[in-house]
Amino acid sequence: MSILSRLIFLLIFIIAGYILYRRVSFLRRAILLGKESDRTDNPSERLKVMGLVAFGQKKMFKRIVPAILHLFLYIGFIIINLEILEFVIDGLSGQHRFFAPFTGTWYVVALNIFEFLAVGTLVASIIFLIRRNAIAIKRFTARELKGWPGLDANIILMAEITLMIAILVMNATDQALADKGFGYYTQIDGLFFSSLIKPLFIDMGAETLFIIERVAWWFHIIGILAFAVYVTYSKHLHIFLAFPNVYYSNLKPKGQMDNMEAVTNEVNMMLGLPANTPEGEAPAEIARFGAKDVNDLSWVNVLNAFSCTECGRCTDQCPANMTGKLLSPRKIMMDTRDRAEEVAISIDKGGPGLEDGKSLLGDYITKEEIFACTSCNACVEACPVNIDPLAIIIEMRRYIAMEESGTPQQWNAMFQNIETSFSPWKFSPSDRFNWADKLKAEETK
């Protein structure tokens, strides 16, 4: 390769790296809009869960067909990216197939694995496109996927397909050129998949082949870089975020809700008990009970939102959603992400940020959605990357109940019953033991 093309290669790399750096630091700011929350306990357990769920894709295998297809994309993504190493070395040093001379048969083996995965990825992407668009599986046609999210999914699948075709064409033309003894191209015997399409190219002239091979090469490397940038703007962020997201996921029993220390202090004060905060330390000022906007959530909730794959497994299992209620846990996550992004962009531009007159609850998520949840944890259980939509729902209920007193009438009545007769139903507390009367009567008989 000429010096010029080497410089262009370097330039493209620097530009992509810069864009990525800016985007990643933006995402960091957006996630840290959320409140502090300590999830650093028990690192060994966290690593184990990350290994199983994120790396090992354990929860994907609850549904075997998409799991296997997804596995192709996943392994394809990881392994094929190893090939990028050679691309980079070639691109910067101006050599061709840098590793070939000294890795011998290993090179052929590696290339065959890449080609096999490329074909697997190709096939998986095509089937995924069909599932999404022609078979129109229910979880891919919900209201929250209309517009950009649906398009995003299709774009990435098409991109995968073109990138994989580029790899195969590149290898096929490369070998067609080697057959002709053209330039620096050397024969690599035994490339299974690309040799299948090689016949398409052998009648072409060496010049044409060279152009095709170079175009495929550049297309592939630029495509991968563009892909890397694109991913950070899309639901495909989960490729990276799934790992920290699972690492920081909740390890406690799913039924356990976090205790609100601020409330504990007030309750203790009301009951005349010592406060939980150490002597002399004023209890931290609490801005708000529960969550109205993204900054009231914890950073883990927001990280969850950016890690969401929009797969809809949660919504698919949600009893409220399947019986026609508005609630969709996936939409909760997507709304949270959209709002966090909106606020972070606004802050970056020097805009009003959180004070833009909008809020997550109200402008994105409605009370009707929040009230429909049965806290059944089906969404949490179903999520392949351990996202917890229920945590956000509960925080919003806390806001509605404690800041707005805006809970449904029947709940207010239930609250009142608990306050006055210590039971959610209106029974006299002194009747609590009446169930035993029947037993006592039987005993004395």
């Binding site: 039924g255 203790n268 806390r398 609590r432």
Partner: protein
């Protein structure tokens, strides 16, 4: 409990009855059945009686953290006052709250759901099957309570108890980790559902009926209500029964 404490006794377990167990007409039968089993086995136990109050679970799940903590703190004061170590309850919501959420407020107890407790009694040979109740060979399905199953990973204990009755346990399509909610959790028990096309308990009842089971076993007062309502809605109350697992054991024992 007050009586026991007054006479200086301390029971082996505290049976936490729960509000449904105390007030719900249908569910009182479950409380009675469980107590009969405890009496028969000769377990030393006590109940708080009028000193028991709502754990606060529905308030907490509806967002009212104040009310929850008020309830929790006063319950913990009572429990700690009696120096309670071990709590058994038939309600998965009480179970979850006392087990997982009271520790943060100073209430530390060993908490067991009655399904696990019954399983232990059976395993230890303290309860041996008598063949009463006519369950033998019947097709029975078990409906997982979310707060027992997904929330706390108790899936097998209730199933073991049912299987001990020598029945044919048939599973619904969605069971264990994938079990479908009855629709009552998260304080839904206390309000009408949001607009939709169906009630959740109907969806679940249909699934239970699809198994062809002659009885639906549950381990939760709310599931019991929801499934019973579902069966009535489908006009099947004459041929399909809904039981709590404690009732099944009590029936088997002729209690």
């Amino acid at each position: 409990m007050a009586e026991m404490a007054a006479s200086g006794e301390s029971p082996e377990i505290l049976f936490w009855v729960g509000c449904a167990g105390s007030f719900d007409d249908r569910y009182k039968a479950v409380t009675q059945a469980f107590v009969k089993i405890l009496n028969k086995v000769g377990v030393s136990f006590a109940v708080l009686g009028p000193e028991e109050t709502c754990t606060g679970d529905p308030a907490r799940r509806a967002g009212n953290e104040f009310l929850f903590q008020m309830q929790a703190v006063s319950n913990i004061q009572v429990l700690n006052g009696y120096n309670i170590k071990k709590v058994v309850t038939a309600c998965p919501h009480c179970f979850n709250t006392i087990k997982n959420e009271y520790p943060a407020l100073g209430g530390h107890y060993e908490v067991i759901h009655h399904s696990t407790f019954l399983q232990q009694l059976i395993n230890e040979g303290k309860v041996t099957m008598q063949g009463g109740g006519g369950f033998k060979g019947k097709k029975i399905t078990f409906h997982d309570s979310c707060f027992l199953g997904r929330a706390n990973n108790v899936y097998e204990a209730p199933r073991e108890v049912i299987k001990a009755l020598d029945v044919e346990l048939v599973e619904m399509k969605r069971c264990r980790t994938k079990g479908l909610c009855c629709g009552a959790g998260g304080a839904q028990m206390y309000k009408e559902p949001e607009p939709g096309k169906k009630d959740i308990n109907i969806e679940r009842t249909e699934e239970a009926l699809d198994t062809g089971a002659s009885a639906i076993a549950v381990g939760c007062p709310f599931c019991l209500t929801m499934m019973t309502d579902g069966i009535k809605n489908k006009n099947r109350e004459n041929d399909v029964q809904v039981y709590d697992i404690a009732e099944m054991i009590a029936k088997d024992q002729g209690l």
